[in-house]
Amino acid sequence: MSQALVIVAHGSHLNPDSSTPTFDHADTIRASGAFDEVREAFWKEEPSFREVLRTVEADEVYVVPLFVSEGYFTEQVIPRELRLEGWDVEQWDSDGTSASHTTLTATDVAGKTVHYCGPVGTHDAMSDVIVQRAESVTGDPEVGEGFGLAVVGHGTERNENSAKAIHYHTDRIRETGRFDEVEALFMDEEPEVDDVAEFFESDDVVVVPLFIADGFHTQEDIPEDMGITDDYREGYDVPATVDGTNVWYAGAVGTEPLMADVVLERAAEAGANVGNAISRVRAETGGVVGD
């Protein structure tokens, strides 16, 4: 039985960087050799969700959404556009952050089995990626003591699950006790990222947006809202001092190489035979092996 991995992501008509993390993580997984085929597909780029299944030759197809939360895209748009037969969100039996996978067929392609996975953003391993992002931006593999960590989401979106995903990881990381403080902040609702310094006692705060790709929100809005720059075009310092707090702004967590591991874990949980690729990819992308 040959198996293919299809990574589905948003993409953009305007910003070429939007698909870069998708390509990068796909390449890491290709190089691991875990799948016979790996293909990227996009809502706004090509191949489209509508046509990607016909481009893969394998009989077993694992579809992993590179989205941060369950919601409009994972529940409506992707299943509809992939033409998943008999899809019902109940099949995920999710509380908003616990979707794992379901097995279906697609009317677009005869004879293929499609394993439709939950989004990467709500997988437990995503907490590790957030922490790894903090390590990358501070250059300190032990970062934690004396530091606060802010996990930032969009807020007030089409559904409440996006905030749930932020709180989910915030709670998980807080429970590890690694950072002095861990808080969830949002762009468009309280508590707002604008006032980041107010929510932390620590002198140093790492700010990690739970976004898949860098773009308008992570490169322009959040840096300006936090006041680490007056004009995003001029860039910002890392760390930058705002109201006496050193803000270490990490940019979109989705660009962290360890994200490839989350994609693999999703597919493996859905039944893909990935051999020891998970530990190899974790080792390669800086994650903890055998975790």
């Binding site: 008509h13 910003n15 191949p47 481009t55």
Partner: protein, 327 residues
């Protein structure tokens, strides 16, 4: 005596060459008849197509494969098939505009994955959201791909075109027409189904003709209502309005919701012609070609600046009476 010796040596050399060619072609044919049997059908059909097995007989095809190779274009891609000495096919893939470029002049790539990055921007560095726009950048070559790598690279340049072309060849291309696509949309695209048949014509004329997209449009307003806009001559079909077209349609659905008003503008006949020139130049993507000092072209920058200096009011717009303002 001498002459006849050299003649027979030449004859022997030609004969030997033709024997070598024959063995070479034989190895190629053997390869085609054995290894290709196990290839997935779509891939095999495409590899046969690129060497024109639909256009020429076996003898001619192998003579060409051994001697110089067979070239065919797929959109702006140029594929040349040759037989390696072991009888396997090797493929050269490049932009058709670089047909005569030597490997020294072009950037040489070996990994098909590079195609994804080559497809991202035009020669001018502009982002290409529509992969089948006729704006593929030039200056690169994959000189030595296997069949599998070729198909992979082509699928990165023009995603899903091989799969859709093959379905069409088999007579089972699943076309989704405008109405069905529009009605399926949700969220901010929910309103695209408000476009009338005439507006869908304009949509296809704006985005889908050959000067804008190399796919051959097979979708219509619906299965019973053909659009008049030319479908295009592309090798590979477009089976459904793409995301670029749906996103554009959304904006037009919003803009077309405005009611028309009458404006009274004062222009000389040349100025009216000039407005038309400017619209034509932008619509045809010709503004870059207009020479700096060619003030005879209505879309020339100096001409446009003159018109702005003369006709714009303090608010930075065309000064003119709006019929609605007088009511």
């Amino acid at each position: 005596m001498k002459a006849s010796l050299s003649e027979s040596l030449r004859g022997a050399a030609t004969y030997a060459r033709s024997v070598v060619s024959l063995v070479h072609a034989g190895a190629g044919l053997y390869h085609e008849r054995t290894t290709w049997r196990d290839l997935p059908e779509t891939r095999r059909a495409f590899l046969q197509w690129v060497e024109g097995s639909d256009e020429r007989g076996l003898g001619e095809r192998y003579a060409m494969l051994v001697d110089g190779g067979i070239s065919r274009t797929w959109g702006q891609l140029l594929v040349t098939t040759r037989l390696a000495s072991d009888g396997r096919r090797r493929y050269d893939l490049r932009h058709e505009a670089d047909a005569d470029g030597s490997l020294d002049d072009l950037s040489v790539y070996t990994d098909p994955l590079a195609a994804r990055h080559l497809a991202t921007e035009t020669d001018d560095g502009d982002y290409r959201p529509l992969k089948t726009a006729p704006t593929l950048r030039t200056g690169w070559v994959f000189p030595d791909l296997s069949g599998e790598q070729l198909v992979q690279a082509v699928d990165f340049f023009y995603p899903a075109t091989v799969a859709n072309w093959h379905r069409e060849q088999q007579g089972d291309l699943d076309v989704t027409h405008w109405r069905e696509t529009a009605e399926r949309q949700t969220g901010i695209y929910d309103i695209v189904d408000e476009l009338s048949g005439e507006q869908v014509e304009w949509l296809a004329e704006s985005c889908c003709v050959d000067s804008q997209c190399l796919k051959r449009r097979q979708w219509d307003e619906d299965a019973d209502t053909e659009l008049d806009v030319p479908r295009g001559d592309g090798e590979f079909p477009c089976r459904e309005p793409c995301s670029v077209v749906v996103a554009a349609a959304r904006n037009w659905a919003v803009l077309e919701g405005e009611t028309e008003r009458e404006y009274t503008l004062t222009l000389t006949p040349s100025e009216k012609n000039q407005l038309e020139d400017i619209i034509e130049a932008v619509a045809d993507g010709r503004t870059d070609e207009i020479r700096e000092a060619d003030v005879y072209d209505g879309a020339n920058r100096y001409r446009a600046r003159w018109l702005r200096a003369k006709r714009f009011d303090e608010e930075g717009g065309l000064a003119g009476g709006d019929a609605a303002d007088d009511e």
